[in-house]
Symmetry: C2
Subunit: 307 residues, 2 copies
């Protein structure tokens, strides 16, 4: 929608079309759809050719799952990115690539808030590949002048996010569970701090990253700049959903091994450079997502095909 | 030879057998050869099964070449390493992996000498993959207790090294050129400092890394600890080879883009932890390599098959 409002002609490279999300006709209209897998060079070439901006949103998320399937993570998150960068070099040399990196490139247990100069030492294959991806962008810039901006996103949540899988965002997963009367499982005390950022704020950061000339080659944290405990986030979801219970369970080993300790992003660089600021408070943000899911469910029930 | 002297039963995974190097029968006897490509999981599994030590020496070298062929570098230097690490996890869980990393993981233009805590910011795909490989080892250790040691090697040279390609070591390539009456090309003034380390010293570091319990999970610089200018190295080669000329030419663009500036490794950590020290001076080391190549050429000429 942000691209639409900006007057862009939008292309989407996607494996699943029509999407398994319920989105408005307005969003779907006039998109150029490139159906395929980002690992396939031919469809990447077609989608990238002559583009002005490339938002590299395809990928696979999740620390624990990446450590369990490192080769798949390599293929989807690194090899496929090389397809995109090589395609840009040859077919869209003046394109700017907007790359969503992650707070997971930082070493665990940093002094808070973590600036972009924080120690880089990921403890997952996922974080390792995000960091390597950042280096790829630097190399391609140096080799062929490719323009890029890296956004190290904290814990995003928001409407339309896939919610069936925890690895795609804990808040959306919790909301999905709460709306289905399933308990919200909190590992241990849940007192680790997290910085949750709303998807609308992330989108705004991406638009500014794409359109601000001075951002070329820069790396920015994108977070709310505020941190809350994991347990508090769960309470907010439970309260907003109206009925749910929180269960404290012991840390599963595979999750404990990728736990990063407290995290909060210093977002002063993106504020000063791009004039960006997060606008959504966590409680109202969560309420909005719940409202959106409920409206979508109602809409779905009224669809002709499902009667 | 070092492994043979240590009484090890040695397995070799190699794409080319018999080797295209001329080595003594003593070295070749009683090796278990696994012929295949490290990208092939099956042969990696077979070679790794029940191993006590895995020296991960297969790979592709060179900054400029990696930037020109990033996908190939990914396959050979990262994906194949994952094959090895996954194989270790399942088939040799108590093996120690000795991983040859590179000075090229460091940012260019560091304060000299560079310690293991130097800034990590490679400017090539090759360096990016070496750094990602180091993180893989950390992740596998954390996930499954895999033992490893990382050796960040400076500029190695020595007998038996492939010499037809510059990316496999500039000294050997220069020696090969000098012995074939070809000029030694020095880019610009050649006043960049380099730290050249002899292969025998690297082998000794690998043996100590493999057999020192306290080294588990550690990362060490492996260099001579002394730095000379590139131009001086070229002069040493020319002098030792007896006849050659040095040509100063402008920096090719692709080489200038991966030039790291001066480099010298701080090797105090490996000295204090492993009791290792470099033993070969550069001038006598170069002379020894030249002597070795000449002896091999003489031996080759006397082989029955070539008469």
């Amino acid at each position: 929608m942000a691209l639409r409002h900006a007057g862009a002609r939008v292309r989407v490279l996607t494996r699943s079309w029509p999407p398994d999300l319920i989105v408005s006709r307005e969003v779907l209209a006039d998109l150029a759809i490139y159906r395929g897998d980002i690992r396939d060079e031919a469809v990447v070439d077609a989608a990238v050719k002559d583009a002005d901006f490339v938002f590299h949103l395809a990928g696979k998320s999740g620390s624990a799952v990446s450590n369990a399937s490192p080769v798949e993570d390599l293929d989807v998150n690194l090899r496929a990115l090389l397809n995109v960068l090589v395609a840009c070099t040859h077919l869209a040399p003046s394109a700017r690539v907007i790359f969503p990196s992650s707070r997971l490139v930082y070493a665990p247990h940093q002094q808070l808030p973590v600036t972009e100069n924080g120690l880089l030492a990921p403890i997952s294959i996922y974080g390792t590949h995000k960091l390597a991806a950042e280096r790829y962008l630097e190399v391609f810039k140096r080799e062929s002048g490719l323009s890029f901006v890296v956004l190290r996103i904290t814990n995003p949540y928001g409407p339309f996010q896939r919610r069936e899988q925890k690895s795609y965002g804990i808040i959306n997963w919790f909301i999905w569970r709460a709306l289905n009367d399933l308990p919200l499982q909190v590992f241990g005390e849940g007192d680790q701090l997290r910085d949750y950022v709303h998807a609308h704020d992330v989108v705004e950061a991406m638009m500014l990253a794409a359109t601000t000339p001075a951002a070329d080659g820069m790396t920015f944290n994108v977070g709310s700049g505020e941190s809350v405990t994991f347990a508090h986030m769960a309470e907010l979801v439970a309260a907003a959903a109206g009925s749910s219970r929180i269960e404290h369970i012991p840390w599963p080993e595979n999750q404990a091994r990728v736990e990063t300790g407290d995290f909060a992003a210093d977002v002063s660089l993106i504020k000063s450079t791009l004039g960006w600021a997060p606008t959504r408070a966590l409680d109202s943000g969560i309420a909005g997502v719940i409202q959106g899911y409920r409206a979508m469910s109602a809409g779905k029930a009224e669809r002709p095909g499902t009667r």
